[in-house]
Symmetry: D2
Subunit: 259 residues, 4 copies
């Protein structure tokens, strides 16, 4: 029997602006990455999303990002590792308070957007993220990219003493080297829910992804990430959930999966 | 022997902008109200100010404010109590994370500026503040205005189960009714450090303030607030400290004063 | 033959957040109130919305608001008249630059949300708004609330030398005194498109509104405001446009209606 | 007789935060680069700084920056050229409105901090800046870095049809190739006011800078930039002004210097 986690970004609305289909999507996932008010999210959204996660027994993660609401945290900013360390501590703290009022504990931290990519590309930034996480709470899980490109992040995370969980993207194409195909290239994003579910199953059941050239690559992942802000997101997560159920894959929040 | 706390707003710098003389002032006070990044402060400032407080054995308080950096949190905003409750939870959480990384615990919460005044004037807002505080951590102290105007806040704070500490302002003139003279009136702010120290002593030693008409009013206060952003702030806090020392008044963080 | 203007708030999206159905609604209106990046809108949205207005021969208005993106400019802020004057100058200037690059001229200014209401309730604020507008460009039109409550704003606007245009809301209930029924009361907002179109026609053809008690009140208005952010907005503006056409009411941008 | 302009960044205060010695410095310069509310500045500061420039017959420039108040616009952000073009249009427009209310015209545009450097390093960004400027007002001057590194910016600026003015920094060390020595290297910033004044004189009188290896390099510049946010800024600009006067160098706003 294989056990895996299914995570999704949540709580990305802001003030009068609504984004995502959180109420529907959350019923099918096991971990939620909740925006912390910098690139998206606000205290009302954070409060309601944490409650939604608690009500659905979904693991709660902080999803810290750059101070760039206008760019939704998707643009790289040349922040120093020290700046990033403090930005993440701040955001983890803010979300933790909403966990506290709902009697929940924060499960994991996953940087958002350009900050996620910066940590993958830049060792001092990966270290700053890891140090931020462990300094606030050593029980938090650091979610890192599965595959070749994420190797450094995992090494850094473990070196500082964190539990690291590897994440794979069933709706993204992979190169034969085990890295994500750039979003700017055609075919980088896979949209057919059935195809995505098949890929998710292969990841969960066999730890394998089929690269763009057809080769099967090993890809160890304890959590699978799907995007919740597309119109087809609900169909997508439901499709994965049903496929997993029929194939005997058990979904659990990453914090409840023993190493 | 009388024991009292001396509190001061700290950590109000932001990015390239420096405000206050925190490094000098903190050596003379016993509790610091630290801005949480909304009306002032940023993660770097919060980190350094918490460390400064720890290094000086000063009690740490969250100083949450309105989302109005441009107005420094001094302008009233018609936020709902629910909005305010969540804004305070968010800001307490953010500061708490910096306490955690420095091995410290948050001692108290004192709303800033227009939010402080809104809580004094408006019972649903006072309740929202109190509920925010107790929901995050029931051990936190709620700092409320001493005297007639603060009575409602204290009642609300105690009703929800919080420890409430009363605060007096030795550099502000009081009416015979025991409320602060409006800043818009002449003489509202007392600037002579020796006079302020004398008033602080009267508050600490006898629980009394001399109103503008010369009458002595009882004013129970466990903490005395001075402002740290004026050029004379260092002189002012040093003057109070020395006066207290020579008169046998002991200064202690409010969290260490038994009720 | 009666001539009237039909205005709608536009350009309220922000970064990754989309709001409103601007592309569809703009085909049926004659003036657009474009957010200026404070309570909503951003440079990309402003650029595209100004172009959309130019392409559809729609009059362009600045829709300045409070510095409160989180509250969408709907919460009152105790800003001084001087602060408000400068906030409006800033926002008019920013939008004017986008008009300039598209070869258009700004037609009018209409404050947004809580700022609109503050100007109706508070004479120094109404004066600050009027002075801001005329100081930047004396040809700009100040859009003010039609009816009893807007009387002061119109008087102030005219006193400083501005052309003032009166605005009525066909989807809002009116009291017998000619003021808007508070949104908090039942029936304050009329949702049936046909009913709204009938009310708009009565306003345009006869200068009359039927109050909640059935009395007919005179209500002089040169522009009619509809909301573009509801799902039924397109149907609503189309319904008004068609009703006007069949009844011989001509729609024109307010700047082209001679006094 | 040589004529040259002396420019300085101004209007960098924000809300309660004061930065710079604008009132003193402006009496000695001929052009002011005024922050536009994004990386620094706010409507009150912009209003007062424009008035200060008008009162002192100083040429007014827009000093647009990245949307990064927290980082003071000094951190690079991976914005697209289209984003940058619109950010600059917005900021030029906002400042232009304050010029309008004081009966002044905007003279020039000089990007701030990381945006200035991005335009020097990246041709599409330089083009975006130039297109932003010319689309708002073709009479505006584009201030570009003098020397080898600024060559591309000047070429782009002229290609789109702008008047370009070259800027040199007397308080910065230059390499023998005519580029600025990185701030991270020792000796990059020259602090002695007399030495800076001597270098400014050499730039103004002979169009020459002495590089770190002692070689004299030609450096054509129509404006000289000094920094106004240091304690010695007033002394520095006064020293340059007096040196120029005694040596017969005439100071004039760049817009009044015929090509």
């Amino acid at each position: 029997m294989r056990i895996i986690d299914l995570n999704c970004d949540m709580g990305e609305s802001y003030g009068a602006y609504k984004l995502g289909l959180d109420e529907s999507v959350i019923r099918h996932i096991t971990s939620a990455n909740i925006a912390c008010g910098w690139h998206a999210g606000d205290p009302e959204v954070m409060d309601k999303t944490v409650k939604l996660a608690v009500d659905n027994s979904v693991g709660i993660g902080a999803h810290p990002g750059y101070p760039d609401l206008l760019g939704f945290g998707r643009r790289n900013m040349d922040c120093t590792p020290e700046e990033i360390r403090r930005y993440i501590i701040y955001q983890i703290g803010a979300l933790s308070a909403f966990c506290a009022i709902h009697g929940a504990r924060l499960q994991h931290v996953k940087p958002h957007g350009a900050l996620y990519l910066a940590a993958v590309e830049n060792e001092p930034i990966a270290r700053a993220v890891a140090q931020a996480i462990i300094s606030v709470d050593p029980n938090l899980i650091y979610v890192a990219l599965a595959g070749a490109k994420g190797e450094m992040v995992r090494r850094i995370g473990k070196a500082v003493g964190l539990k690291v969980v590897y994440e794979a993207f069933p709706d993204r194409a992979y190169t034969p080297e085990g890295t994500l195909v750039s979003r700017r290239k055609p075919g980088a994003v896979i949209k057919d829910p059935k195809e995505v579910a098949r890929r998710a199953l292969l990841m969960a059941a066999e730890g394998v992804v089929v690269a763009v050239d057809g080769t099967r690559i090993p890809l160890e992942a304890q959590t699978i990430c799907v995007h919740g802000d597309t119109p087809s997101a609900v169909e997508l997560v439901r499709s994965i959930r049903e496929t997993f159920k029929s194939e005997g894959i058990v979904l659990k929040p990453m914090g409840l999966i023993s190493e």
